[in-house]
Structures are given as structure tokens and as C-alpha cells.
Amino acid sequence: MGLVTYIPRMLPFVLFKGLELPPFIQGVLKNVPYATLGALIFPAIIFLQKDDIWYGIAGAAAAFGAAFLGANVIVVVLGSITVLALYSYFL
């Protein structure tokens, strides 16, 4: 198990070491982080609680709101945890 989790992580550093990739591929690779984040967030965050999608939506809204106002990542994380704790406490 350790080997099959390590190989995909390590191999690109060895394979592409000192290799100048074509500009188009470089462009695509620069896009990868933002595309990945989109896919990591949705739809998973909506289904935080399978029986109440509003729970996930509330968490996402809190995080987006705090981040949009320029809050530090740690504040965004702690803020949305707090919002959801209050959500389950009161609703």
C-alpha cells in the first residue's frame, strides 16, 4: 500500500527532472491547481451530511464569505467549523 501511494507522488519529480515541457503542457499544468481545487470542493462539501444538504451549503457559504472578505485560511477554517457547530446546536 505504501508503495502504490508513494509511486504516483514521487515519479513525476524523477521523470520530468530538468526537462523543458512544451509551452502548452506547461500552461495546462499551471491550470491544474485551480481546477483540482474546484473538483476537491464540489460536490463533496454539499454532501457533508447526506440527509441535510443545507448543512454543507451553510458550511460552504461561511467559508466563501470569510475568504471573500479576505480572512486568513486558518480563520476561514475555524469560522466555518463554528458556523456549523452553531447550525447543529440551534437547528
Binding site: 500500500m1 505504501g2 502504490v4 501511494t5 508513494y6 504516483p8 507522488r9 514521487m10 515519479l11 513525476p12 519529480f13 524523477v14 520530468f16 527532472k17 530538468g18 515541457l21 502548452f24 506547461q26 500552461g27 495546462v28 499544468l29 499551471k30 491550470n31 491544474v32 491547481p33 485551480y34 481546477a35 483540482t36 481545487l37 474546484g38 473538483a39 476537491l40 470542493i41 464540489f42 460536490p43 462539501i45 457533508l48 451530511q49 448543512y55 454543507g56 458550511g59 467559508a63 466563501f64 470569510a66 475568504a67 471573500f68 479576505g70 480572512a71 486568513n72 485560511v73 476561514v76 477554517v77 475555524l78 469560522g79 466555518s80 467549523i81 456549523l84 457547530a85 447543529s88 446546536y89
Partner: protein
């Protein structure tokens, strides 16, 4: 001069540790629960901690517990783990372009710590990622994962249910916190993230492919499509939008 270089490297390492704090918070409830579930699945504390130390992959470790419980063979567990983690190949390829040039040995060492979360923190940071920063982020994430696996097994109980549930949002909130600053600055980022999110939602809800493949496929589709649009736009208008 070499003192100066070492000093720079250690501040980069500290910056990495700081940037890793939100990952540490996010891993806390997941690792704790993993430790607890591993215990109920009959793994000893050594086996559980060793698994977290060697595998260091949340989803795969959870899946392997349920596969072990079903009595699934080792080959299938390893194969499933490989498929779930294939996306890290794409993430490492992208990071390889961003990380500062260094000995292959260092790269092979810190690449062990690349996860969805460490990747997101490093990749959204402006400028080149230094080796010190990589080690800082990865070490904090790794320590949190391994230590809380052990504590979860040891205390054999999870957090109060309300807290456990609300802490489940932590990693997604972190992803949002990392994405939004770039998203405010660039429409391209908005399109990249939205398109990948839409593809992944269709693939996942439609049950078209397993989650490991859905994330990789959505990412590649979105990254390639947006880049093609950029190139075509550049050809037509003679302008290239450099980020």
C-alpha cells in the same frame, strides 16, 4: 554566506510549518476517527500508526479498513489504493514545475508528503516553492496525521458528535480559503475551478466513474479546455494573457 543561506532555508521551513497549520487542524478529526475505526477493525495501535506512517493517505486507509473487514484480498486492496491515489501523479507533475531546483534526493523525500491538502497549500502560494517550505508544510501535515491516528486508537473514542461533524468541514473550508484569493484576482481561475467542479459533480452524482478517476478526469478536462480557449483567443486577437 552559507550562514545566510541556512537562515533563509530555516525561515522558509517555518513559513511552511505555519502554512501547514490549517492542514493540521483539518487532519485532526479524520486521523482521530481513523485510529478509532482501526481499533474496532482489530488492528493494534502499532499497526494503525504504522499504516498512517507508511501510507499517509486518508481515503485509501479508510477504504482498506472496510476492505479488510470484508476479507478482501491484498491484491485488490493495493489496486484500489493505487487507483484512488493516481491523481497525485498529476499534482506532483504540476508541483515539479513550481518547486525550486534541488537535489533529486530532497525531491524524492518531500514528494512522500504530497497529499490533496499539502498540494493545494503549496500550489496556490505565489512564486517558486522552496525546498524548506515543502518540508515545513509536509512535516506538519504528516505529524498531525500520524500523532492523531495514535491518539484516536489510544483513547478509543471520537469527539462529541456535533464537534466531529462540524470539524468535517475543515479541509473543504481550507480549499475554499486557498482558492478564493486567486479567484478574486483572475476570471480564468473562476472558470477553471467552476468547470472542474461541474464535471466532477456530473461524474460523481451520475455514478459515471469512481471518485479517484472523477477528480483526475475533471481536472484534466478543465485545465486543457481553458488552456485551449486561451491559445485560440491569443491567435485571434494577438494577445496572450499572462497570469
Amino acid at each position: 554566506m552559507s550562514d545566510f543561506a541556512i537562515g533563509k532555508e530555516s525561515t522558509e521551513f517555518k513559513k511552511g510549518l505555519q502554512a501547514g497549520i490549517s492542514i493540521g487542524i483539518g487532519y485532526f478529526p479524520i486521523a482521530l476517527t481513523f485510529g478509532l475505526l482501526a481499533k474496532t477493525s482489530g488492528l493494534s495501535i502499532y499497526e494503525s500508526v504504522l499504516m498512517s506512517m507508511i501510507v499517509f493517505a486518508g481515503a485509501s486507509q479508510y477504504i482498506s479498513l472496510s476492505l479488510l473487514a470484508y476479507g478482501t484480498g491484498i491484491v485488490e486492496i493495493v489496486l484500489t489504493t493505487f487507483i484512488v491515489n493516481i491523481r497525485h501523479f498529476l499534482m506532483s507533475t504540476s508541483l515539479n514545475e513550481k518547486c525550486e531546483d534541488d537535489h533529486l534526493g530532497n525531491k524524492m523525500l518531500y514528494s512522500f508528503g504530497i497529499t490533496d491538502e499539502t498540494f493545494s497549500v503549496v500550489a496556490t502560494r505565489e512564486g517558486t516553492a522552496t525546498t524548506g517550505f515543502m518540508f515545513g508544510v509536509n512535516l506538519l501535515a504528516y505529524s498531525s496525521w500520524v500523532i492523531f491516528t495514535g491518539i484516536g486508537h489510544l483513547i478509543g473514542a471520537s469527539l462529541p458528535q456535533t464537534l466531529q461533524e462540524s470539524m468535517g468541514v475543515a479541509l473543504y473550508a481550507m480549499f475554499i480559503g486557498l482558492l478564493v484569493p486567486s479567484l478574486k484576482k483572475s476570471v480564468k481561475v473562476l472558470f477553471l475551478a467552476s468547470l472542474a467542479a461541474i464535471f466532477n459533480t456530473i461524474f460523481t452524482i451520475g455514478g459515471i466513474m469512481a471518485q479517484g478517476w472523477a477528480i483526475v478526469t475533471s481536472t484534466i478536462l478543465s485545465a486543457v479546455m481553458i488552456e485551449l480557449i486561451e491559445v485560440i483567443k491569443a491567435r485571434h486577437w494577438g494577445v496572450k494573457h499572462e497570469k
